[in-house]
Amino acid sequence: MTTTAVRSRTDARDGRLPGVWGLGLRRSALEIKQFFRQRDQVVFTFAFPVVFLFLFASIFSDDVEGAGIKASQLYVPAMMAAGIMSTSFQSLGVSIAVERDEKVLRRLRGTPMPPAAYFLGKIWLVLVTGILETAILLLVGTTLYDVALPSDAGRWFAFAWIFVLGLTACALLGIAVSSVPKSSKSASSVVVLPFLVLQFISGVYIAIDTIPDWMLNIGALFPLKWMCQGLRGVFLPDSAQVLEQAGDWEFGRTALVLGAWCVGGLLLCLLTFRWKNRRAG
């Protein structure tokens, strides 16, 4: 290549900076492309809750006394809630920690990309994978485990807001927790441990009527318990309400707790998010 003339720069700079929403969409296309090119991650993410649903629903399939349901039916909304949390909390917590440690974030910070575009990209990725995950579990649950689709508009509406609020709260907590691991190597253990504990004390793996009250009370501080409870209310007959701690689906309180976590999670993110890891100073 021969040398080119010195191009004029100063007066050519009337180009406007690209908009945040458009860049957010471009980021999301990139995030989704990257996600689906990592085959092992795709298989792990989507198969995990399905495998667990299969295991638990096959092991515990007896009728639940006085509730008019089978134990296997309890696991469909439970795994759906866990699936929502895994595609948001776990996947963001791990991936952002890795991106921070591998300096992907620092590189982005050095460009004129607005930070909001990065988060918009993550939101779209979480939304797409969360919807896919939920759809898969819904398909398995309705075909294999006697769970019926909601029959009235009210329950469909509850399904929608539980999904949106739960996904948002868990995504924000995932972004916040991504600052905890010191390196990408420790990221998945640091993020998975609290998720695993919450699954035990929120009624995902173990039916709530067998968990000690004090554990349930701790679980009730976090979103997962309410997501499980809300989804049971969407997919199970009202006769199963007797199994709940309060003997009721408590939709109102569920909305309140999840909404509060959305606000609290956002504040936590704003306070803790960093573009560099601690070792980089």
């Binding site: 010195v6 720069r9 700079r13 900076l17 471009r26 990257q34 590189r107």
Partner: protein, 288 residues
């Protein structure tokens, strides 16, 4: 946004940065003119990277005044970031994407990007445009880093040890690329601990040691100023090598000619190389 041709691209005064008890930058002054290639030369740990990271807006400073393209990098706006290109020391690009996908994507961040295909050609990755980044070699990744650094058509390009780990052929290719960018009018600041790199590329350079600028100027002028004197070496008839430092090598050689009456065995007259000057300036003479 108005810019002035005579305004310094980078103007640093009294820059200081401490990490705990360690003073990384201890009062550095720098003035980089528009359009020049400026080399920041020094051994590892001299404070080069810290300085460049502060100029990038990626690190806070403890004291000093810093102006990069007329703005304080600690408060860089999006518009300012679009005018500064960065090639980091340790780089990471999304492994699952292809070269062309990545370069095209980054182009969207900028108000007036260069043509992605042209930039890929500029860094010599045409043959790898469709390859996933994880399949690239180290040198190819580094060239991709440069492509991402220049895709926004920056007025100022900051490169932190861009050729560390390159083999000699890859380093030469990289130098050609930097010269190309310079000819196009980009102001370039690069740090390096390779002396021959600074000498080959930089219009002016600053030698940094222990957080301070110990010498600054054109490479030839530095050698002139700090490398006065010469050394005359020869072999005595009994086989003993001799070396005499002198400011008047011609006279020394004339005396030797009279003594030996003809050929002087093993005669060599040497001026200090820039490397000698550099090692002397950075207090590393013993390292040789």
């Amino acid at each position: 946004m108005t810019t002035h041709a005579n305004e310094l691209a980078v103007d640093v005064r009294g820059l200081r940065k401490q990490y705990g008890d360690v003073t990384a930058v201890d009062g550095i002054d720098l003035g980089i003119r528009r359009g020049e290639v400026f080399g920041l030369l020094g051994p590892n740990g001299a404070g080069k990277s810290t300085t460049v990271e502060i100029l990038q807006g990626n690190r806070d400073r403890d004291a000093g005044e810093v102006s990069v393209l007329g703005a304080d990098p600690a408060h860089g706006t999006r518009a300012w970031r679009s005018r500064v290109g960065i090639v980091w020391q340790d780089e990471s690009a999304p492994a699952e994407l292809t070269v062309v996908e990545t370069v095209r994507h980054f182009a969207h961040y900028y108000p007036r990007p260069r043509d992605p295909e042209e930039v890929i050609g500029l860094v010599g990755l045409e043959g790898k445009a469709g390859s996933r980044i994880k399949a690239l070699s180290g040198g190819q990744r580094r060239r991709l880093d440069v492509a991402l650094g220049v895709i926004g058509d920056p007025e100022l390009l900051l490169l932190d040890e861009p050729t560390t780990g390159f083999d000699p052929a890859a380093r030469r290719q990289f130098w050609d690329l930097i010269r190309k960018l310079s000819v196009e009018g980009t102001t370039i600041l690069l740090t390096t601990h390779y002396l021959e790199e600074a000498e080959a590329l930089a219009d002016r350079l600053a030698v940094v040691s222990r957080g301070r600028v110990v010498a600054e100027g054109e490479p030839a002028a530095l050698r002139e100023r700090y490398g006065s004197g010469a050394t005359v070496e020869w072999t005595e008839p009994d086989g003993a090598p001799r070396a005499v430092p002198t400011d008047t090598p011609t006279r020394t050689v004339a005396e030797l000619m009279r003594r030996f009456d003809g050929e002087i065995p093993g005669l060599q007259v040497s001026r200090p190389t820039l490397e000698d000057v550099y090692l002397r300036l950075t207090g590393q003479e013993d390292a040789r």
